[in-house]
């Protein structure tokens, strides 16, 4: 049974067709990503260029000169171009003079970049906007990387107990297991499923299958999470081209952005009302569904933020795919498998496809675009008309959800 959402207070969207009378529609007309992985021969600029070229190729009908706005997500791991990160990549790919800015919301940076591009188009200020993100995380020593991996946790108190995100999500996992009928085996099942999907994705960082035994017996990272319950750190970039209906109607492919939702939450876990749900995800989903005039029942597949396996379980519940405490059942029954009723993370998710922080949110939209336009090859979900992407920053301090609808133009 799907969860029902309470009405969103404080803002009102007019659902469905009548929405266009207030704000015009926005469409994804092209999307592309680099491979995710460890690439000592690549730079953040070259990875971004690869993603941009693929997005342009897929767009058919859009030329670089058509882009009049760019929003780029990056956490800035390594500090390589912390200032002017947006222009650094858009000028590199020839978008000379195009206003370009960086958006930082930790792991949700480029999910928010997509949202910003959608806002730009819907507002009428922009006809074609580029949203994207990048991160390079594997070109530094483990010691240096340590300085960057925890920068999005609550710094003064949470981090200074000695935690990074694995520790914070492990605390959430401990509370979830304490509250519901769940075990670490369910985390292992997330790994098995997402690796099975990622093995079908040539751009996945860890594109291999793993057995349940492999996942169960991996070294402990932060009890109850083991290595297979944690995503890798990756290099990569992803880009999405967002356009108005007039432009989209001239393109080869177009996916309608039916709903967008975003919300913030207190940065530190200890500051929150619940450790077994992510309120920002719930609010973002609620907004996106309401704007789309759709609900969780209407979703054909989802790309969710599985930075740690517990996060995928929380996402099922926060996004309304099941009631509280029922996420383990979805895994036990194979409902979220690629051939299940509601496939989740067909790309392999953060676990297998990889997690180049700033690229992840846009990368999820890339997968949704491919699925909705029938270009997902071996992992193509049949009859995929409505997809959802769910991107979380940190341990939930920011969340953004997109509901995307194919076959409308």
């Amino acid at each position: 049974m799907m969860r029902s959402f309470p009405p969103v207070s404080g803002r009102t969207y007019i659902a469905g067709d009548t929405q266009a009378t207030i704000m015009r529609d926005a469409y994804i007309v092209g999307a592309g990503q680099s491979s995710y992985g460890a690439f000592p021969d690549e730079s953040y600029r070259s990875l971004f260029a690869t993603a941009f070229e693929e997005a342009l190729d897929s767009a058919g009908g859009i030329a670089p000169g058509d882009v009049d706005e760019a929003v780029i997500g990056s956490l800035g791991v390594g500090g390589r171009q912390l200032g002017l990160s947006g222009p650094a990549v858009t000028e590199h790919v020839g978008l000379h003079g195009v206003p370009s800015s960086r958006i930082e919301n930790a792991c949700a940076a480029s999910g928010y970049a997509v949202r910003q591009a959608v806002q730009a188009v819907k507002s009428g200020m922009t006809d074609v906007a580029l949203a994207g993100g990048y991160e390079v995380m594997t070109d530094m020593s483990g010691d240096v990387a340590k300085y960057w991996l925890g920068v999005s946790g609550e710094t003064e108190w949470e981090r200074l107990t000695g935690t990074t995100f694995s520790g914070v999500y492990a605390q959430m996992a401990s509370a979830y297991i304490d509250e519901y009928d769940a075990s670490p085996d369910h985390f292992s099942k997330v790994a098995v499923k997402n690796h099975a999907n990622g093995a079908k994705n040539p751009k996945a960082h860890l594109g291999f299958e793993c057995s349940l035994e492999d996942a169960q017996n991996a070294p402990v990272v932060a009890d109850p999470l083991n290595l297979y319950h944690c995503c890798p750190t990756s290099d990569g970039a992803a880009t999405v081209i967002v356009a108005s209906e007039d432009v989209a109607s001239t393109c080869d492919e177009a996916v309608r952005v039916a709903g967008v939702g975003a919300a913030s939450e207190r940065v530190g876990l200890f500051q929150r009302d619940s450790y077994t749900s992510i309120r920002s995800s719930e609010q973002a989903a609620s907004q996106a569904y309401e704007m789309a005039g759709l609900g969780p029942d209407d979703i054909d597949f989802a790309e969710v933020h599985d930075c740690f396996a517990i996060a995928e379980l929380l996402a099922y519940e926060d996004l309304g795919f099941c009631e509280r405490g029922e996420a383990p059942r979805l895994l036990d029954e194979g409902i979220t498998d690629l051939d299940g009723d509601l496939p989740v993370n067909p790309s392999g998710g953060l676990k297998s496809k990889g997690h180049p922080i700033g690229a992840t949110g846009a990368g999820q939209v890339v997968e949704a675009f491919k699925q909705l336009t029938g270009h997902a090859d071996d992992r193509q979900i049949s009859d995929a008309n409505v997809g959802l992407t769910h991107n979380v920053g940190g341990s939930g301090g920011a969340a953004v959800v997109h509901v995307l609808e194919g076959g409308v133009l």
Binding site: G79, Y147, R159, G162, V220
Partner: protein
Amino acid sequence: MTGIAGVGAYVPRLFLPAEAYREAWDKGGAAGVERVAVADADEDTLTMGTEAGRRALSAADIDAGAVSHLAFATTTPPADEEEAVVRLASLLGVPANATMQQYGGGTRAGAVALAAARDATGPTVVVVADNPAGAPESDQAAGAGAGSAALVLTDDGPLTVDAVGEYSDPSPGTRFRRRGSTETESIGITQYERDAYTSTVGGAVDALDADISDVDAAALTAPDGKLPYRAARTLGVSTATIASGTVVSKTGDTGAAGPFLGLASALDDGAESVLLVGYGGGAGATALSLSAASDVPVDAVFDGDVELSYAEALRRRGTITGEEPEGGGAYVSVPTWAQTIPQRHRLVAGRCRDCGALSFPPEGACFECGFLDGYDETRLPGTGTVEAATVIGQGGAPPEFVEQQQRSGAFPVAVVALDGPDGDASDDSVSIPAQVAHTPAETPDIGDRVEAVPRRIYEQEGVVRYGFKVVPTEARR
């Protein structure tokens, strides 16, 4: 007349058996020492002194806010130069306008501080803590222990200092530490050092001009487990009297804190009169004779309960580990840290002026009602309940904690609902994140009760950041 109204003592829970040193080095080690207490990587003389000070205040039933004089004696302060006593006051809650003095320079420091405290007016706290070290192969290292004790003096405290005697005579090389070094040494000439100890201690006791032959216990600085007994004949007391005031065999050499741990132990065993002698290399001694008009409250832990291997002890002491890696990224500046000292040292929370909910740290909008009306300060007792927990393994910690992990290994972390000011686990609580200072590093169960303890959190730019961690209530000694 000013007297001691309460005594606290704290010895770390980690210990190394003397046998482990003997096996590692294939030689005898420190005379008369069965085991040595080992400070954990997040403990030092300031945290141990805070533990003892809080216990002494509790035993004396004195509020730290009423203290007008604080003395801190140690030969091993966290930094060679900087007034550790100031942060000790903050950790204890002693007011900023109290008189504060720090004593060092030799292991006599505690006795000197107590002799001076006799003349102080108003509630006075004397904290003595030491954590000596030696070159790994040396007898000093073999015997080096760790511990602290504290005394609270009030106008009507039952244990009075009846007489003070002093004696000094140059004996260079008997116990010293070179400038900039962390390793205590001695010249290693056995008879010379024994004579210096015996004659100096004897001279100070002579200067007391009091009959000490009947005291219940004699608590002497104990560089090893034999020297105090060698002084028995000179002092005219039995070795049993020495034994009643000596804990070195169970703690190791605790430097300036040694005679005070002996005093606490003797009082805990019911002693009514005690001779306390502080001896410092070089050499000088201060003797005090004390007598109790009635029972003296003592709140003390003397015995460790976690045995270490020799390699583990070297790691905990930082003898064989590295330092924080270089890097960038997240950073908490010293001024930013300093703004939260009331929270980190004394658990000062806030109560929302609008809705009454607790907030920690008390800043920003209230998480309960969302208003920015500000907070009234309220101090939390430090008890709480685990709400979520995990263990951070090697490699999983931020760089600030790399050295701690090298030394102490994996550590648990938890989200803890700290009890409100009334101290019960009712709805009036506030959640905080905390590291769990516990060996072995096991994940606490949700619902476990814990208590806050003072600890080093991390060191950066040469500045140690002190705060609180929690320990399971069932493991609290």
